[in-house]
Symmetry: C2
Subunit: 431 residues, 2 copies
């Protein structure tokens, strides 16, 4: 029994969608409680209310001193990135953001997802140089010290691996895994750095120049080609993430940041940019990051991470303690721009209701959505469907699959579904 159910029915609680979706405004005014059966009743008896407050030992004995660099509580060690090896190489690894344990929209830098094709290089910034050459009037090479003198802009934006949610794209039976495991290759940070256009203006791009071949200084020799148009638009040389210098696993001492483009195009440990008239056919353009479409064609140079959303709470492998009141919460984003709306269904897709978007809603950034939900204890399916400012809507899984050859795993942005079983267990499913 939920505490709420012990109270007289609250007339303000109004269902506006099937499966128990509630009107948020009236809900928040209702004084309804989110206290669940798992906790002892929080309402104090007359005796309890008169008792003196308790003063634990940590209120009697001085605590620890300040540190130079703070860390999470020792009680939060379970909130960590999960590391997965691809190809059983042990070197090509991915660290996933624990989306189901976080809140708000900023991903702490220590929990930002990362993928490395050949491990994380340890780069001394004093020895790192950045070269722009090729079809330019004046090739230039900058030190990090010099770059730190340039004008810096900042914005809060997401970054998503092109292969995020690949398990749902390729597995014929839905994997029974967590939101972190399936969808944790996406994160959001405040990125600060130098607009590429300033540097391109300095070298003077030759009219023939249309692309930039961007090379990272890692042992994976990662190379991606970015259209110059994007570099002149909103790309930056990212030097700072969430206030401080970017971390080694994010490309220290510098990375390319191309907002809304697939993660690996945001080349980490960037050390060279060659301006070319056409894109180079680097290994990374031909293997991992191109998609076979259903008409047997190879789709190269697919840039944008399209509109997408994930319900993070409740989500896969979580357990609802009992029927009662919950807040459904999740994240939505689009590589094209701002999120316009997120609709949620609690009745397996029969009805959809617009969720609350927690502001500020920023372009190419995480937007958190929430909606109150009264679970009646019966099995149902929860889904979310995001629409961006250009009217792009998440497709169904079938619709998405119909576009590609069966083994294709990049750019998966279909509507995700969580089955809530009568026992409260939550599972990844396809609808």
């Amino acid at each position: 029994m939920n505490l709420f159910n012990k109270r007289p029915p609250n007339k303000d609680l109004v269902e506006i969608g099937g499966g128990g979706i509630l009107d948020r405004r009236r809900f928040l005014l209702s004084g309804a409680s989110f206290v669940t059966v798992m906790a002892a009743s929080p309402i104090l008896s007359a005796t309890e209310a008169k008792a003196k407050p308790s003063y634990p030992n940590h209120m009697k004995i001085p605590g620890a001193p300040s540190s130079n660099y703070g860390l999470p509580s020792q009680y939060e060690t379970a909130v960590k990135r999960t590391n997965e090896s691809f190809y059983k190489s042990g070197i090509f690894t991915g660290a996933h953001t624990p989306l189901d344990r976080l809140n708000g929209t900023i991903t702490p830098s220590g929990l930002h997802f990362s993928i490395h094709h050949n491990g994380i290089p340890d780069i001394n910034p004093a020895a790192h140089e950045f070269l722009i050459h090729g079809f330019v009037n004046k090739p230039m090479k900058w030190s990090i010290e010099t770059l730190l003198n340039y004008p810096i802009v900042s914005r809060i934006q997401f970054l998503e691996c092109s292969g995020n949610s690949a398990a749902n794209a390729v597995s014929s039976d839905p994997v029974d895994a967590s939101c972190t495991s399936i969808h944790g290759q996406v994160s959001c940070s405040e990125w600060a750095g130098i607009p590429l256009k300033y540097l391109l203006d300095e070298v003077g791009v030759n009219p023939k120049g249309k692309w930039a071949m961007c090379e990272g200084a890692d042992a994976g020799n990662h190379v991606r080609n970015v259209p110059l148009e994007k570099l002149y638009d909103d790309a930056i040389i990212a030097l700072y993430q969430n206030g401080e210098r970017i971390r080694p696993d994010q490309g220290y001492p510098m990375r390319l940041f191309v907002p809304g483009y697939e993660g690996n195009m945001n080349v980490k440990w960037l050390h060279r940019m060659e301006i070319t008239d056409q894109p180079s056919q680097s290994k990374d353009e031909q293997s991992l990051y191109a998609e076979f479409t259903s008409d047997k064609k190879l789709n190269q140079f697919t840039f944008f991470m399209e509109v997408k959303s994930i319900i993070t709470k409740p989500s896969g492998t979580q357990q609802l303690p009992d029927k009662g009141l919950y807040e459904i919460a999740g994240l939505a984003w689009s590589g094209r721009g701002r999120i316009e709306k997120v609709e949620v269904s609690a009745d397996s897709g029969k009805t959809w209701v617009a969720a609350h978007l927690e502001g500020p809603v920023m372009s190419k950034s995480f937007t958190r959505f929430t909606i109150p939900w009264r679970w009646n204890g019966q099995g149902t399916i929860l889904m979310s469907r995001a629409t961006d400012e250009f009217g792009n809507v998440q497709p169904s899984r079938d619709e998405w699959k119909s576009r590609y050859e069966d083994f294709t795993f990049n750019h998966y942005n279909a509507i995700n579904a969580w089955l809530v079983n009568p026992d409260g267990g939550v599972k990844n499913v396809y609808v």
Copy 2:
């Protein structure tokens, strides 16, 4: 010589303020370089341009694996909080945010400032309870597990110690210290938590209730009184900071967050809130956190941190390598709302020019401002003056001092000034 000075004069560079303040829009279109004399010329000779790119060892040998929780580069250990002991007790300590080493607006949680009156308690969240009692219909006590089920809202907001910049308030001669040392008791994070109004609605506040006595579970027994009106307005029980659960030095497992109010009212390790009809005269209301005004009166219950700005670059103890082009950058904030404008002077206050505000400009949040500047190598004074959306403007130091008894150190928000010496050294001064 600055590289820029080796080029033909750029007609687009237009001074719009004394002391070399430049028009930003025209500046950014000019292709001007921020390369300073400290770096070798970044323009490559014909021979250099033809040389093969170099491939350092870290491009040949696999790098490190992913970690569960990432940390900054080993080359960034100098970017840390500086710890200062007050009263020589060793327990009443303050850790300052290195504002002059960061960029953007988010403060990484590991570098958030913190002040502790008796150290940082180590609290097991499973044993922590939060009590609301006093003038309420139904006293209640919540576990952390229960609170984590409530609806969560998030916002990016600053937090500033009431005593930030105290050195400039009380020292008759300006201290020769860094921006971090003088002004580093202010930070900005995404805070997520439960609106207090939901909990107050649940306990049912008695009409007599006007204040809340808020007690932290630390050995300093920190107690501040907050008007209920503020708690119903925009206060939250903060459970998350920058995405993850708040850190021990920020009040783990929960703190009060009262946007725009002085830092210590955002009671950390919050465990008890007693609803009262008038504020209690706790030790913290009578000693540290009340101000004597110039008419010999004791000013208690002063809440708001007023409009303020700091130029972080260049700033105290930094060294400009040579005359030439620089970007002046800094942070502005107001406990009342949004920043409307920040004016910068590079000629000791004779002329003031509106700086660029890097968006999004959010209420009660850090706003970063920038403006390009051509330093001619002569001694001058740099200042910034912020105005908030309600027309509040930073006072001069003399004006601020005239309001208080000489020893008062809280709520210092006067215009700050950095002297640039002909040798490029930057010093804290009064004007």
